[in-house]
């Protein structure tokens, strides 16, 4: 009877999302660190060596050598994998307008209102590139967790160094002193996602997720709208766009991995990570996003390089 029940539970029947995390092989871990940061990752598609090179050019002069994590290429994910990493619609969830990747569609997205129980859905217009990006972030977090790291710095390959990033080591000490070493999960290394120099993408509240409370009151409660300056260096934040450069504590790594295991992927990773973590940001840009950077998230533009 117990065995029958286990067989019927979803976690037994369906693969875990971590089955699709990419393993990380590191040859020289000691070079990818700096004071107060155990390891520095940079997520970079194999098809984009020029982006990694551009980031290295900016960081190496400061003695910062990020480890190149070979990103999960979402454009190469099979329908079977997509089915396993996305959110499965079950009774009790709020139906939303969503995206599926049926096998018959041969990689094309299908925009559908969520109706079919047991079917895998992603948020409306979630591209395969974005799904790959989410899996890359989770793979990095899993690696950091497995290696026992306390603090990591994760970047995407379209960063811009605005000022000497070595200040981040000192800032980690300051944040520890300000809020307590165990009381922060994520520190963003810029004010917000830049859309122009000095102009940032405004963000407030959380996006709807079928397996969370979709009411306006829940999505715009204080937890998800707080933006509070707490010192000359830091602000407590909730909503923001962009995962391009974050410092994570082990507590944040654990929370994000637990969220991914339980909830799978529905939103892009920068929106999904609002739900669980104590988030802080610096009040001046140190390492931010490159404005108008080329991205393969929405479409595999790298193919145009290969086949102009």
């Amino acid at each position: 009877m117990v065995f029958f029940f286990l067989c019927c539970s979803e976690s037994f029947l369906f693969a875990s999302i971590s089955d699709h995390f990419k393993k990380v092989e590191v040859d020289f871990p000691h070079i990818h660190k700096m004071k107060n940061i155990d390891f520095i990752y940079m997520i970079n598609l194999d098809q984009r060596p020029e982006k990694f090179a551009s980031c290295q050019k900016q960081l190496n002069p400061y003695g910062i050598y990020p480890f190149r994590f070979s990103a999960v290429n979402g454009w190469e994910l099979t329908p079977e994998i997509l089915e396993e990493v996305g959110l499965r619609f079950v009774p009790g969830m709020t139906p939303l307008m969503a995206t599926t990747y049926p096998k018959e569609a041969k990689g094309k997205p299908s925009y559908e209102f969520m109706e079919e129980y047991g079917k895998t859905y992603f948020c409306h217009h979630m591209s395969r590139g974005s799904i790959g990006c989410s899996l890359s972030h989770f793979s990095v977090l899993q690696d950091a967790f497995d290696r026992g790291y306390r603090t990591i710095w994760v970047m995407e390959d379209d960063i811009e160094v605005v000022q000497d990033p070595r200040i981040l080591s000192e800032l980690i000490d300051r944040l520890d002193a300000l809020v307590g070493e165990e009381n922060w999960d994520v520190l963003f290394t810029d004010q917000n996602y830049r859309i122009q120099v000095g102009k940032y993408a405004p963000a407030l509240g959380v996006a709807k997720r079928p397996d969370m409370d979709c009411s306006y009151a829940a999505r715009f409660c204080e937890k998800y709208t707080i933006q509070q300056d707490i010192s000359v260096d830091f602000k407590r934040i909730s909503a923001r766009f962009g995962n391009h450069s974050m410092i994570l504590r082990r507590s944040g790594i654990e929370k994000l991995l637990a969220f991914a295991q339980k909830h799978k992927i529905f939103l892009s990773s920068d929106l999904d990570n609002y739900f669980t973590v104590n988030r802080y940001g610096v009040r001046y840009d140190i390492v931010s996003n490159m404005i108008n950077a080329i991205t393969d998230n929405a479409a595999p533009i790298y193919e145009q390089k290969e086949h102009p």
Binding site: P95, L96, M97, A105, E112, F113
Partner: protein, 228 residues
Amino acid sequence: MRFEGVWKPSLRETDDFNPSYLFLPYNPTIVIAGGYAPGKIRKLADNYPQGSVYVFEPEPEKFSGLLKEAAQIPNVSICNAALNTHKGCCSLYLYQNLRNLFFASEESSLLEPLDLSSPSFRKKIQTPCVRLEDWILERGVPRIDLLELDLGGFELAFLKNIPNVLKGAIAIHIKTHLSSEKKDSTQYAELKDYLKGSGFELLSHWYLEEAQGEATFIQRRIYDAMFL
């Protein structure tokens, strides 16, 4: 041009982009009536190789033009008939758009002009016509996801005649009329009310005051999920 709604495609995009495409499955069934645009039909067929595009074009010259452009495309069917409230034959009135440059220079309608001597009225011809719900039943078309309609003011009468199609449609992209030179022409306010009562909400509407416009309506449950 003025705008109302919640999703504002840029004016540049409205030529061959309509926001309803953002809500379609990978294999949509699309019905296009009026608004001669062979390039758009080809693009839709290319973008949705597993979808189906049904085009109704009652004007003989335009029908020939469409056949030339699209007859070889496997997922496009072109029908030389007007969409009407019955099957048979009916009068089709051909007009010239003299008022503005934003919309097509010629249009046709099942509605006769208020004034036959109006310079915008060109001529009257006879054309076969079909009732859409019967037509799709006969051909085993299971559902219609998107209706793109430019019926020269006949839009409301047509929509009232297809209640079952409306129940299943995801989106309607439709020419709107904010004045009239034709008898019993649908006015935008009436159309909007009717579609609201039929379970649709306005997504976007670009229009010229006291002239014409193009509006997109989507299923209310989609609208609520996205915007409320």
